[in-house]
């Protein structure tokens, strides 16, 4: 899969024009589908400055998913991202007239669907129409005919491979391949590489796309020898190394600045006056004493205390050590909370492992306990899923079922710990998929600030339901297990407010119901709440029933008719069809199993159809009126689009190109809302 992706790369770097031509050609076809993520982000308003609403996939260069999953998690560690972006603090002298260091971003043209790269592959990529047709086949349970044998996984709609390929096709692809020496006054290092990535994302003018973190990996591999191969690597190890690199990079820079400053100070009266002046203006601008240097520690570092009690003289000695993450041993059928407590279990130091007691002077038997003295802001928990077994003399993966809660407090703090009841919330799960430590894949499931949980799988980003997070306890088929859990400090009030908001959003949507028909963009709010994929059918809003009726209403609204088809529906929609298709999906298909069932289903279908017709009639009238409006609206929109495209072309010679996002609104459909009722729907008992 990765090799395929790298093959795409070779092609159309320069033929953006060709791509846009192709895009125009495609107009006759059904428009490209919106991904669930794009649907969620529709009408999201202006792009924010702080980068909290950038949802980019990261390109995989062959087994670099360990990096991608971790970098994503770090990016959405808000406090870390902000600090990275604000470091090094720039003194006024370094930033004349608001000069900002630029990142060397190259925007690679999105792969044209009929572009050379694919032709080189010998096969044309699927068009949207083909995709829909194929999905229909798959959904209806048909086996794909033999003539189509040898379908590559990325050509099968709805597979991760397909989605990743689509992400690459859609773009924009922001490439970070070139050296960026001397940026931020620092040598190129892991930190600058990471900062470049963050900077690029923040400055990107679209919310979605793909970023190619090539340069970062090059630097990281340069500095870390063991990652200099294309093997499967350990994401936790990577996490540790990146943080340590960042710490040492920042420290080195701080030292350098300090030396510089002392040099400055000796540079004569005039200069010193000047610097004194600048100091009063920007007291924390630079220098090792500025609070800027310790921020990595502040975020991730905690302090462990090992209390050792000599059993001979009963003296207790303490030793503190810092940690960036906690590696915890796992037990079958346990919880992370309990595994964390085991971590603090008493340990006997005896026999060959005796303790040297300063008090009694000599090796003595002792009791040792590890406790947490200072809780970090971000608590990284490494679940030790890979265990060395003598029998196989290799690392085996443990598929223990270890449950993890959304919120957490630590039980094993020392008496004098500050805020021992600190509340943490889970915000990132790094998932390892695979049978052992040497192979597999990493993805991350991350809670974003205001867009809920998202699944980041290399190039692909997809919104998921909150309950999806619980799929990685380790006991589900598919060998996907949580490997690193990131918890961040929060407060009880925040958690409550969030929980309330989760449902309030639904209430708001419901109350907006009335306005939907009149407001052209009113569906945006709807999309927010409803496109989320649900892994368990339990987040359904209270008035789902209302939602459904609203759906039927909305089909006549101008906003949605230009829509591209919702993914779960097998048939391509056009204007006229859309409402009937929706209606059909409301009356789920009968289960063609037994004859009686069929009969009943037919009867029910008839009744439903009659009812639909009635409704349809009244709607048809409305629809005609709307159609006129629609045509107008579409014209205007097309023009706007053209203008926007031209403008963006001019404006962003260098910067990332705006995607040719389809302006229409996809209709938020929830396949799950209907599915569970398929069986029961038709029968009047």
């Amino acid at each position: 899969m990765t090799s395929l992706l790298s093959r795409f790369k070779t092609g159309a770097a320069g033929d953006a024009k060709a791509a846009s031509k192709d895009a125009q050609k495609k107009k006759e076809e059904p428009p490209p589908e919106l991904t669930p993520l794009e649907k969620m982000l529709q009408n999201a308003g202006p792009v924010r400055e702080d980068g909290s609403d950038k949802f980019y996939g990261l390109e995989n260069f062959g087994n670099t998913c360990y990096c991608n999953s971790m970098v994503q998690a770090l990016y959405y560690t808000t406090v870390f991202r902000e600090n990275v972006l604000n470091y090094p603090p720039l003194s006024p002298s370094e930033t004349p007239e608001g000069f900002k260091p630029k990142v060397n971003v190259v925007v690679r043209a999105p792969q044209a669907e009929n572009g050379t790269a694919n032709q080189a592959n010998g096969k044309k990529a699927l068009t949207t129409a083909e995709v829909l047709a194929r999905r229909k086949q798959i959904n209806s349970g048909q086996v794909i005919p033999a003539t189509q044998q040898g379908i590559r996984p990325e050509d099968k709609p709805d597979t991760p491979e397909y989605k990743k390929k689509q992400a690459m096709l859609k773009g924009p692809i922001l490439e970070l391949t070139q050296e960026n020496p001397g940026a931020y006054g620092m040598d190129e290092c892991t930190f600058t590489g990471l900062r470049d990535i963050f900077m690029t994302l923040v400055e990107a003018n679209t919310r979605t796309g793909v970023l190619s973190p090539q340069r970062f990996l090059e630097i990281f591999k340069r500095d870390n020898e063991m990652f200099r191969n294309s093997m499967h690597q350990d994401a936790h190890e990577f996490y540790g190394l990146v943080l340590n690199d960042v710490i040492s990079n920042v420290e080195r820079n701080a030292k350098r600045l300090m030396e510089q400053e002392s040099k400055h100070a000796n540079d004569g009266l005039l200069r010193s006056l000047e610097s004194a002046f600048s100091h009063t203006v920007m007291p924390t601008s630079n220098g090792v004493n500025s609070p800027g240097t310790g921020w990595v520690h502040d975020i991730f570092e905690g302090v462990l205390t090992s209390e050792t009690k000599c059993l001979t003289c009963e003296t207790t000695s303490q030793r503190d050590e810092t940690f960036l993450d906690l590696s915890i041993d796992l037990e079958e059928h346990s919880s992370v909370t309990s595994c964390l407590q085991k971590f603090s279990a008493e340990e006997m130091l005896c026999e060959r492992n005796k303790f040297h007691c300063d008090h009694c002077g000599g090796l003595q038997e002792a009791e040792k306990r590890m406790k947490i003295k200072r809780l970090p802001k971000v608590l990284a928990l490494h679940l030790k899923r890979f265990k060395y077994t003598e029998d196989y003399s290799r690392l085996q993966k443990l598929f223990h079922r270890v449950v993890y809660p959304y919120e957490l407090r630590m039980f094993n703090t020392t008496e004098d710990a500050e805020d021992p009841d600190r509340l943490y919330e889970l915000y990132a799960v790094i998932v390892h998929i695979g049978g052992n430590a040497y192979h597999g894949h990493y993805v991350s499931v991350i809670k974003t600030e205001d867009r809920g949980w998202l699944l980041f799988d290399d190039e692909m980003v997809e919104p998921v339901d909150k309950h999806y997070v619980r799929n990685f306890f380790g006991d589900k088929p598919g060998m996907a297990c949580a490997y690193v859990l990131l918890y961040q400090e929060t407060t009880f009030e925040k958690v409550r407010a969030q929980q309330e908001a989760e449902g309030l959003e639904e209430v708001r949507i419901a109350s907006e119901k009335a306005d939907v028909a009149t407001e052209e963009n009113g569906l945006g709010g709807l999309a927010n709440g409803l496109t989320r994929q649900v892994s368990q059918p339990n987040a359904i809003p209270i008035d789902d029933r209302e939602t459904m009726t609203r759906l039927a209403h909305a089909s006549t609204a101008p906003g949605m008719v230009i829509s591209s088809p919702p993914p779960p529906l097998p048939t391509p929609l056009n204007q006229v069809e859309s409402s009937s298709v929706l209606a059909r999906s409301l009356t789920a298909k009968p289960d063609p199993k037994s004859k009686e069932e069929k009969k009943e289903a037919k009867a029910a279908e008839k009744a439903k159809k009659a009812a639909e017709k009635e409704e349809q009639k009244s709607k048809d009238k409305q629809k005609k009126e709307h159609e006129v409006q629609l045509r107008e609206a579409r014209k205007a929109e097309a023009e706007n689009l053209k203008k926007a495209l031209e403008e963006s072309k001019k404006a962003t010679e260098e910067g990332p190109r705006r995607p040719k996002r389809h302006q229409g609104q996809a209709f938020p459909q929830e396949p799950w809302a209907f599915e569970p009722h398929k069986a029961g729907e038709q029968v009047h008992v």
Binding site: S334, S335, T337, V403, E407, D421, D543, E597, W672, G680
Partner: protein, 614 residues
């Protein structure tokens, strides 16, 4: 009787489990229940509990219409049906002596009837006695049948005073209404198959009158077992549903009798089935989710009611249904018009931390159709709820980690208690109604005292999430309490706490909650039951609700820091099964546990006479 061919011989359940675990397509066959007697035991202060038997209830394979997943994509975002492991309920028609310790304590008080509810065997005796005394007070149910409303002797009936809720009069008071449809002849696509034991009638006729029935839901199957039968592995009836998973069920204790049982089941599709097992008739409620589409996580009959039951839907609403009423699409706006003067319903956005949002009140005049009442507690899913022994209060636990105490008769939220962290998954009341015990995702069991609005203690001993808690009324008296818990860690824990221990001075006494603690110290624990019950309402309940703004705040009881809370260790922790456990219950003879994979285990109590715990 409708006789199906005998079930074919199948490979073992183990093969099925292995296939599921390996992520392979599961074999499309059904397995039989298997009864084994592995040797296991555990020792507690009172003696040795011995594993009597392990009845493995077969987990049904997916319905043939569902395409087998050959190569599951672990990242697939497609919906999965909600499952709830194996939930069991026990039932006996017989008059059994109530727990001795308890009987001594409460025999004189009005509460006894409701306390005895926990060991449900003793219900009938109370019912019979009380109703013959003519003590059934409730007007609305007085002509419903011989044993109605007696459980609620100390509390008014639910929805009392609402004339539109009164049941229709039947000519023969003893004749119970049956559901509409015949299950065995049904061609509903909701029900896939109904298998009735070949000698169903004979078995029912021959069984001992005091024998235990067990009802169990396992994924899409529902089984009715006779635990007093020599071959208890043979179910009396087994229902296989097509796609929906049965998540919970409940038997009506008021209407039960050798000739009639009212059983309700809640499904992952939000639908509910009212089933009468003896005549094999059923009715579907909330059909196609017309009232609420979210899965039903817990369902229970309203104490003392023949017809009304409460279902907790996973969107955070509690809905009261009438088993005999038709469904009607529910529109909160319409309801607002019929119930005027209720400010709460008109507010679309309600602060769920201070009140319950009454979408439809039980006092609504519009009671021709279901739902009888809808209350929205929060936007988070409700995991479980329990009625207090005095039938006045409801304890509801949710995924957001709250435990709400609700006066369900008055539709008032009295208090919100908060878990240490994570969601709460189970709840139960102490037999005397003084304490509520919850278990959750913090691996803890918390003991609360609703009347004092306080956390009594946290119990640490489980190594994973707690899934079920229950009191052992045979080992409780006025000062000592015994309860058990099971969890995802496959462990059974037993806990003891007593009043003296809880009065132990702790750091908490210095906390800045003067008003509460000063009040509570005045109240003696030795008070009689009746006053405790009234105290719950008079002290914390109404004063908190009717008061000003600052009182609304006090509805929510803040999380206690760890350093200020008493911690209780278990008197026993025992790995009671190979798989995560999901249910436990105490009977006079044993402790029963069930696991997610369907193992129903019976742990016999110590053979010597179990006296009250000291």
């Amino acid at each position: 009787m409708f006789v199906l061919p005998p079930p074919p011989r199948y490979p073992t359940q183990a093969a099925y489990n292995a296939a599921v675990a390996a992520g392979q397509a599961t074999p499309m066959i059904e397995t039989n229940n298997i009864l084994t007697t592995p040797e296991e035991q555990f020792l507690v202060g009172e003696g040795t509990y011995v594993l009597k038997e392990d009845l493995h209830l077969a987990t049904p394979p997916p319905h043939p219409s569902e395409a087998p997943v050959i190569n599951p994509n672990p990242l697939a975002t497609t919906p999965q049906p909600a499952t709830a492991g194996t939930k069991v309920s026990l039932l006996s028609f017989a008059v059994r002596p109530p727990p001795p310790a308890f009987y001594r304590l409460t025999s004189a008080t009005a509460l006894s009837a409701s306390i005895a509810e926990h060991p449900n065997e003793s219900r009938e005796s109370q019912n019979a006695k009380l109703s013959s005394d003519g003590e059934g007070q409730s007007a609305s149910f007085s002509d419903g049948g011989p044993s109605t409303s007696v459980t609620a002797v100390s509390a008014p009936a639910f929805g009392e005073g609402n004339a539109s809720l009164a049941p229709e009069k039947t000519k023969d008071a003893n004749k119970r209404r049956k559901p509409k449809n015949n299950m065995t002849k049904s061609n509903s696509s909701f029900i896939s198959r109904v298998i009735i034991n070949e000698s169903f009638t004979k078995k029912l006729a021959d069984r001992p009158g005091d024998g235990l029935f067990a009802f169990a839901n396992i994924n899409r199957a529902f089984q009715w077992l006779d635990l007093s039968s020599p071959n208890k592995a043979d179910y009396l009836t087994k229902i296989l549903f097509t796609k929906a998973h049965c998540l919970c069920h409940a038997v009506n204790k008021v209407t039960k009798g050798p000739g009639h049982l009212d059983l309700i089941m809640g499904f992952s599709t939000g639908e509910i089935i009212w089933w009468e097992p003896i005549s094999q008739r059923y009715t579907r409620l909330n059909k196609n989710g017309i009232i609420n589409k979210t899965p039903v996580s817990e369902i229970q009959w309203i104490p003392g009611s023949e017809n009304h039951f409460m279902a907790a839907h996973m969107d955070g609403s509690l809905i009261v249904y009438d088993k005999e009423k038709e469904d009607a699409a529910f529109n909160p706006q319409e309801e607002e018009e019929t119930v005027d003067g209720e400010g709460e319903t008109s507010a679309r956005v309600v602060d769920h931390l201070s009140r319950i949002q009454i979408l439809k009140s039980v006092h609504s005049k519009n009671q021709k159709t279901n739902p009888v009442a809808i209350w929205k507690l929060s936007n988070q899913r409700i995991n479980a709820f329990a009625f207090s022994p005095d039938n006045r209060h409801l304890a509801v636990v949710s995924e957001d980690g709250t435990m709400r105490i609700i006066d369900y008769l008055k539709e008032l939220l009295l208090n919100i208690f908060n878990a240490y962290f994570g969601g709460l998954s189970c709840v139960c009341w102490s037999p005397d109604g003084k304490y509520v015990v919850t278990g959750g995702q913090d691996d803890l069991i918390s003991i609360w005292c609703p009347s004092e609005r306080s956390l009594i203690a946290r119990c640490r001993g489980h190594q994973s999430w707690v899934t079920s808690v229950a009191f052992d009324p045979w080992r409780c008296d006025e000062r000592n309490y015994r309860f058990g818990s099971v969890g995802e860690d496959c462990r059974l824990c037993l806990w003891d706490f007593n009043v003296g221990m809880l009065h132990r001075p702790k750091a908490a006494s210095v906390r800045h909650r003067g008003s509460i603690s000063s009040r509570t110290t005045n109240l003696q624990r030795a008070e009689t039951q009746g006053t405790t019950a009234s105290r719950i309402r008079s002290n914390s309940g109404y004063s908190g609700f009717e008061g000003a703004e600052d009182d609304i705040q006090s509805i929510s009881v803040p999380v206690e820091p760890r350093s200020m809370t008493a911690t209780i260790p278990p008197v026993l922790t025992k790995k009671a099964d190979k798989d995560p456990l999901c249910w436990l219950e105490f009977t006079d003879e044993s402790i029963m546990t069930s696991s997610k994979t369907g193992h129903l285990r019976t742990w016999k109590r110590p053979s010597d006479n179990p006296g009250p715990a000291e």
